[in-house]
Symmetry: C2
Subunit: 403 residues, 2 copies
């Protein structure tokens, strides 16, 4: 142990922490362990090359997660660290070469027609801040280990969208046609050849009422929507999980029936464990109340004993957040946290902070949000085959050692 730089990593990892600490090498050891534990980072795919590689985890070429330690405390998630989850390969860059020329067909209205982004920009303007969250965010916390991307908290962000309200478009086209009960969006991805289009196309139906808050958005966080996030035009359905916010939207239709695309009829269903998705099961649509702590977390190292600012984010899905409680003892006792920062509307998340005096020791930090309708974030997840909609406060708790 006298010549640590010549120790093979294996030896170092097997060494006694206290002996290393005595030799002043604790930080060297933890660094080596972190390097040994972390799998080699995958490179960013080309369409997402603008992402901050230090702030994200690349799961695959179509799934990129924001690191929990990168969320910060400034409400809006920077575009360069927002998660990505694509159901099909990203379309070619050529579709954003002339953004204003992108066409979307509006059907199921009295006067159906195709509109370009250029035309949409004359029809109205609204800006909405909302939590964009993948249906499977929190899947990694299911003990059943459902297949799919092992997201923890980072398949979510709070994003500002600008575009035309869908209600303005509908009004200009004579209103919704009689008998329609769904709003159905179809993505403009290039479909793999040789397959039944219904088996792969990204097409989702949401209740007609969702049109009241929906946008056809050309701008995200102050810039034209990037290809990675659905540009030139994305359907935004505030309060609904990510998959319902159709990228590269090429058709927006008001329909009497739900889409028969597989991603609607069988995908994104709350299926009992062990079963397959089918149209009789609930679809993954509206989000519900959820929160988690972003600091302190083990990834950031051990905070010093004394005053600690315990902070995180909370959102209500369809409803504004009313308050957040924080526990330092794994949920035995709770204290009301303070909501801080700007309130960007009911679909945005709120930051919260609880200032706590923490002597040396180990703490289980948890947060529990309540929305304005009185819905309380539950302790346990709702078990389901695919690991959707995990809002369990217990699953999102973190164990932190104060040194």
């Amino acid at each position: 142990m006298q010549q640590p730089t010549s120790l093979p990593r294996r030896h170092l990892l097997a060494g006694s922490a206290s002996a290393l600490a005595a030799a002043g090498l604790a930080s060297f050891q933890s660094q080596a362990m972190a390097q040994a534990a972390a799998p080699a980072a995958k490179p960013l795919p080309g369409y997402a090359s603008f992402k901050n590689a230090d702030a994200v985890i690349v799961h695959s070429s179509t799934t990129i997660e924001t690191k929990r330690s990168a969320f910060g405390s400034s409400v809006v998630t920077p575009t360069n660290q927002l998660y990505v989850r694509n159901n099909l390969p990203t379309p070619p860059e050529s579709i954003v070469a002339d953004r204003d020329a992108w066409p979307v067909q509006i059907d199921g209205v009295k006067k159906p027609r195709q509109l370009t982004v250029r035309e949409l920009k004359t029809m109205g303007l609204e800006t909405v801040t909302m939590v964009l969250q993948c249906s499977g965010n929190g899947r990694a916390f299911f003990p059943s280990k459902p297949s799919g991307t092992q997201w923890t908290v980072g398949a979510a962000g709070c994003v500002v969208w600008s575009g035309v309200p869908v209600r303005d478009v509908v009004k200009a086209l004579g209103g919704v046609a009689d008998g329609m009960v769904y709003m159905t969006g179809t993505g403009g991805e290039v479909l793999p050849a040789g397959l039944d289009p219904k088996s792969v196309i990204v097409e989702r139906s949401v209740p007609l009422a969702a049109l009241e808050d929906a946008l056809l958005a050309w701008e995200m966080n102050g810039e034209p929507v990037s290809l990675a996030h659905g540009g030139p035009l994305r359907l935004i359905v505030p309060g609904y999980t990510g998959v319902n916010n159709i990228k590269y939207i090429k058709q927006l239709a008001f329909t009497a029936k739900e889409s028969e695309a597989h991603i609607m009829s069988h995908g994104y269903r709350i299926s009992p464990p062990g079963s397959k998705g089918d149209p009789s099961q609930p679809s993954v649509q509206e989000m519900s109340v959820k929160s988690w702590i972003n600091s302190p977390i083990p990834e950031d190292g051990n905070p010093a004993a004394g005053t600690v600012q315990i902070q995180g984010v909370a959102f209500g899905g369809m409803n504004a957040v009313k308050g957040v409680e924080v526990s330092i003892d794994g949920g035995k006792t709770w204290k009301q946290a303070r909501l801080v920062g700007p309130d960007m509307g009911k679909f945005a998340w709120r930051q919260f902070v609880l200032q706590a005096q923490l002597p040396k020791g180990t703490y289980q930090l948890a947060s529990r949000a309540t929305d304005v309708k009185g819905n309380v974030q539950p302790e346990t997840r709702g078990e389901n085959q695919s690991g959707y909609n995990n809002t369990s406060w217990a699953d999102h708790a973190v164990t932190v050692t104060v040194a």
Copy 2:
């Protein structure tokens, strides 16, 4: 004219627009004219290499402006297109290598001491959205052509900052010492050798009352404050012009007198035209009510006749915006615009939009904001030697041709 590709540019520029249009070459001509008119773009300096070169104008290595056409309509200005104005060369990257170790000396309190960013992070947390605007924004509109960067509207942005409230720091250090009437921040730039430090150091005093809203901020728009914008730690004084928001802050002192640094005593003074700055003149500090239109503008080409969404931003400096009026006839008549998007607090800007029916013709578009105290954006600028504080609605009007 039959072989346009062989025409020399001179000829093309001198050619008749209608003849070129008849030959289907109008877009070719306008492209050539734009290329001829635009000076060669300066490259981004290294510390600002993350900026979107298409969204900014590089005036010099220390002055970078957001293009009016790049502001978008999503409230928060993306970091990669926010303006930069540095009074001294940017410090070396090494100062952001260990951000938490950055020290700031707090003086003029009962218990003065040095605090690191790591310590500040335990003392409190707040998030504030505010307009950051250079004192000289709008200087280019002064007919007197004051020396200095010829900013039009783009030396401004709306930015989210997170950090510790200065009032929390002051409270922890026993309160402000007796007799202090200013809050004085000192920047940590490396000073040029061989000069009297007072002649170059960035040190500004603001009234003590400003401490109530001030932050020591380590995060901007959800990321650690970049070196370009004052990281690792910046003093944020909401409602005050950019120069008062001290970058790389190394000392925050509560003082009985204003700083004697030249940038305080003689710089940033409202000097009568033809005179030099001196301490008897008003200092450039609080911002006042202002707005401008970002779309449509000539840079984006001619909008089509019909419905047009006239949109822009408005802010009140120290006070929230109450409303914005828009004129399409150069200020002869006005209509109330609609405020859209999230209200991020009184120091943030608001987006506004007026939907107008515009037949073919030429329009002078202007906007005029009013704050909650009843202050109305003035028609004319306040003349001063250095071109500060231009809030004139007439200067910010744009002439647009609807085709």
